[in-house]
Symmetry: C2
Subunit: 218 residues, 2 copies
């Protein structure tokens, strides 16, 4: 069912396939709206139970229009996670661009990332669906791992002061930041206690900031 | 398919249903072996694609024997996560019992928990399957949330020195610890880079320990 050989449109930039096509496709409002609607449907019902026709229906489009942009449901599944991830990462990149590389700016940037994730509740459901399907779909797993690496690179940049001194530590902390974001999203998804989860994230940022300050001082 | 009304045997202790039956059932070697085999099958193929007959086959048992202990696949699905979780938590409890409540003992206990999780690679696949199915199975979601709460309580105990001074902070840190464990398990599951993930966990324990030390000192 999840044929991975039919990817055609709207590929994101990866090391393998170059960067040219992404912005063109994702900046097409219709492509973006299909990807958003697909993320919602997939997060709600899962990949298997969602049809291209339903995704079209969300937008008042015929299935054939969805099909015009995405050759198959597999193509859409593979693309939708990249699209969602990169929307978050763009937010983080912007927060980094506006900052001064200090520990305070790092926590501000990571708080902006958290807010971006919180504002889109379908993200967690979609991630869980991807993780679950990745067991049976090696292309999806490869892409999910690639997105993790992309995200880690951006987070490393956000770590500013820490990253410049000790690359290995920066890599570990970036891995940790992403794990915290994923893990806390799952906690909120299961328990629904938004305030408690936010407190835990704040405690993490505080540990990170005080670790960075100690690191910078020493 | 996941009928949630057929739970009968081997219930774990929860606030709602009392503690009497758990140890009796889980200490039955046959029940424990069925739960272990089920965890393996579910993690490998998912809930939907796994049958009671296959779980029995892992152990050389007829389906009817599995059925004797678990009234339905739903009963087994609901139980298997509790069983796996509590095996980890027992390890953590033991590490706490042997410790002195210091920050160093806290990190030792949390490292023991990590090793326990690492030694059972099916845990992550099973968790992901539970999170995914929880969307369509409210009883499973309720139980997963309950296990999160149980685990948080045990981790709070492990936090020792930190917990005794500031309960709200201890709660946040316990939530954080569990998120890190879940998040890093997912990272390793997707990317397979065990050493990198371990470095990230070590970096986390270092932040936690230095935060605890500062907290104790001030």
């Amino acid at each position: 069912m999840m044929n991975t050989e039919t990817l055609v449109t709207a590929r994101k930039p990866t090391e393998e396939n170059g960067a040219a096509s992404r912005s063109a496709d994702w900046e097409n409002p219709r492509v973006a709206s299909i990807l958003s609607a697909a993320a919602k449907c997939f997060a709600r019902k899962g990949f298997t139970a969602t049809t291209l026709a339903e995704i079209g229906k969300e937008l008042g489009l015929r299935k054939s229009i969805v099909h015009y942009y995405f050759a198959s449901k597999a193509a859409l599944i593979h693309e939708v996670q990249s699209f969602t991830y990169h929307r978050y990462l763009d937010r983080l990149k912007e927060a980094i661009r506006n900052g001064d590389g200090s520990p305070q700016q790092m926590t501000d940037a990571l708080r902006a990332l958290w807010d971006a994730i919180q504002s889109n509740k379908t993200g967690t459901g979609l991630n869980i669906e991807v993780w679950s399907a990745a067991r049976r779909d090696t292309e999806l797993k490869r892409r999910a791992a690639g997105l993790h690496r992309d995200a880690r690179q951006v987070v490393r940049d956000a770590l500013g002061a820490v990253a410049s001194k000790d690359p290995a530590r920066a890599e570990s902390l970036a891995t940790l930041v992403l794990a915290v974001l994923n893990g806390l999203s799952v906690t909120e998804y299961l328990e629904g206690e938004e305030a408690k989860v936010k407190d835990a994230y704040d405690a993490f940022l505080e540990l990170l900031r005080s670790g960075a300050t100690n690191n910078t001082a020493s």
